[in-house]
Symmetry: C2
Subunit: 370 residues, 2 copies
């Protein structure tokens, strides 16, 4: 196994406080060791819609051995949730806890969670929509003075954070040197790899994420191809994204081209991507997001690229054993749990197009090992 | 009793998703009646750091009769919380639920919570700091199309929402007519009363909330004096605020002048105000917030104004039976629960200065009747 991904939020809203945020670490090191030895290079946050409150809640559940975990909470808002383990493919293991509570038996959950926050020094932000940055902003007064956390994003993202958020109007300006360098904004260039603390190599790719209200300009977003330098394993994590067909673009195809070789040589086994709603009638707007139909269409493109590069005697499904982790499902008014519908639709299409991948819908509060 | 206040969030951060937001209604009408008869004029939101997720969580707890309520959750992050009822003065009653679950027995918690959200058509925003607006923004895609919710604030607030948030960068522009009028931004003038749906009359007062990073410009905030037109009862709700002495200003004193007459004629029995941290050493920065020392100093000013207007034969404590509801307590790294410390400090000072008011620290998820 290569990576552990702790989901601090996997919802696409409109409920606040549970929107997208993931903490990544290599599987070869535990949270316990990271905290005990204060290892600052391993934990990396991808998007930050949620944050410290969710870390504290996971630890609190672990400490009190509560049966009602964070993962079950959002599901319990609906009438017809599946049992937790049915949201994940059997090949993926998951945990409800960090396994850190035995470390400091007298310390309160909030003390341990601040310790974890102190050890997350790098944030990759896919785009500046509020549901992907709120946690980073609200948590920032809890950062250690001179913690100098780094926030990486494409130019549009770092500029938006500086101009619209840390602008002494919406939030104090914590990003300039004179203010103690709570936060450093670091601009990424599309397709150019960035070394992070000699542990990770991150390559950003530009995505389309729907049209603005002028109906012309595109919202931009980012996917991050992350390599663990020690194991030479990769994971691909998407921000919000729409299908190439909807955007009349080929941005996603460029990414599929890039990773097809990695998949063939078994260096990339996991893609984390959004699927915001169940399939919709043709005329309904997607607001720059994926449905099962469009996600499968994208994965078919990836499958064709892989097939074209393989020996013609290879009869395996093109995406055999590739883990597709689904996030950013939008909550809805109806009592029917949308993750369940999306997972069913994806599994049916996976079968029909013989892709052979493994779908799991990520739940807030779980740590997945892939 | 005059008002019910449901606390969707009472924390001052840095934990996300539990920051300040209150729903106000007159006590003479129940949530059950409001939902059943779809009465759109009674519920009013003051600040919106939290929102739909917390409404759903309260309903979910009510539905499943869970013992671990939302109010207890944040406290459980610490080692030494008080029992819930010790955070409130005995004169105040509170509830963990809305009392609506028997209404629609088959509907899921999320269905009922969307119904409540649909019936909150007016938001008063004290200032545009993210911990006071995040819920409004993230929840907005869940508003009914053409719901035309009204967001009231001083000019600085409405301009910041338009320019920094609903600007097609941080969030889609949902505030212009052409986009279906999800939200109408309505500018308030300081000290000028505004009629809202013939139920409330709201008068905003400008507050100081600390210095920006240039160390010159002030963050502005707002307090709202809200009158229930039917009962002629008032409640005063503060956004983030610092003491007049710290701001070298008399903005708070102007408000105390205004309400002293209302208190004397028993028309204002409740003030909701922040107290962010326990008392601090003299040199530590307040970041534009209150401590028990500074809050008591402000209340002494109010007490003196009242005493000066009363008969000299009146020997009652000047703030007798005035309910002071404390919010915006900042969470902290240490395992010691800060609300408990603040409440103790306030009660001691109340005793020492013989003010005679009743202090309660508000907890997320509770509905207080005052």
């Amino acid at each position: 196994m290569s990576f552990d991904i702790t989901v601090l939020g996997s919802s696409g809203g409109p409920l606040e406080g549970i929107t997208c945020s993931y903490i990544l670490k290599p599987s070869y090191i535990t949270y316990k060791d990271i905290i005990q030895d204060e290892l600052k290079q391993y934990l990396i946050a991808i998007d930050a819609g949620s944050g410290l409150n969710r870390i504290t809640e996971i630890i609190s559940t672990e400490r009190t051995k509560e049966k009602d975990t964070l993962a079950m909470k959002v599901l319990s808002y609906y009438n017809d949730p599946l049992p937790i383990d049915q949201y994940s493919h059997p090949n993926i293991s998951f945990s409800h806890e960090y396994g850190v509570c035995k470390l400091n038996k007298d310390s309160a959950p909030i003390e341990l969670s601040f310790k974890i926050l102190d050890l997350i020094n790098n944030f990759l932000i896919s785009h500046p929509h509020l549901d992907h940055i709120n946690g980073l902003v609200i948590n920032s007064p809890g950062f250690h003075y001179h913690s100098s956390k780094s926030v990486y994003g494409l130019k549009e993202t770092t500029e938006a954070l500086q101009n619209c958020i840390f602008n002494d109007i919406i939030w104090p300006n914590l990003v300039t040197e004179q203010n103690g360098s709570f936060l450093k904004l670091i601009e990424l260039e599309p397709t150019k790899p960035m070394n992070i603390d000699d542990i990770y190599e991150v390559t950003p790719f530009e995505l389309n994420h729907g049209k603005k209200h002028d109906n012309k300009t595109e919202y931009k977003s980012t996917s991050f191809l992350i390599k663990d330098s020690k194991t030479d394993q990769y994971i691909l994590i998407f921000g919000d994204v729409e299908a190439d067909r909807n955007a009349q673009s080929s941005k996603n195809k460029i990414i599929w081209e890039k990773i097809s070789d990695l998949i063939i040589r078994r260096s990339l086994k996991t893609i984390l991507i959004e699927c915001s709603t169940p399939n919709l009638p043709a005329k309904e707007p997607r607001f720059g997001h994926m449905t099962p139909d469009s996600l499968i269409e994208e994965l078919c493109t990836l499958g064709e690229l892989i097939s074209s590069k393989k020996s013609r005697y290879d009869v395996e499904p093109p995406l055999k054993d590739l883990n597709i982790l689904i996030t950013h499902v939008k909550e809805r008014r109806s009592g029917h749990e949308p993750r369940r519908v999306i997972l069913n639709e994806l599994n049916e299409l996976n079968e029909r197009y013989k892709l052979g991948c493994h779908f799991s819908v990520m739940l807030t509060g779980l740590t997945y090992t892939v």
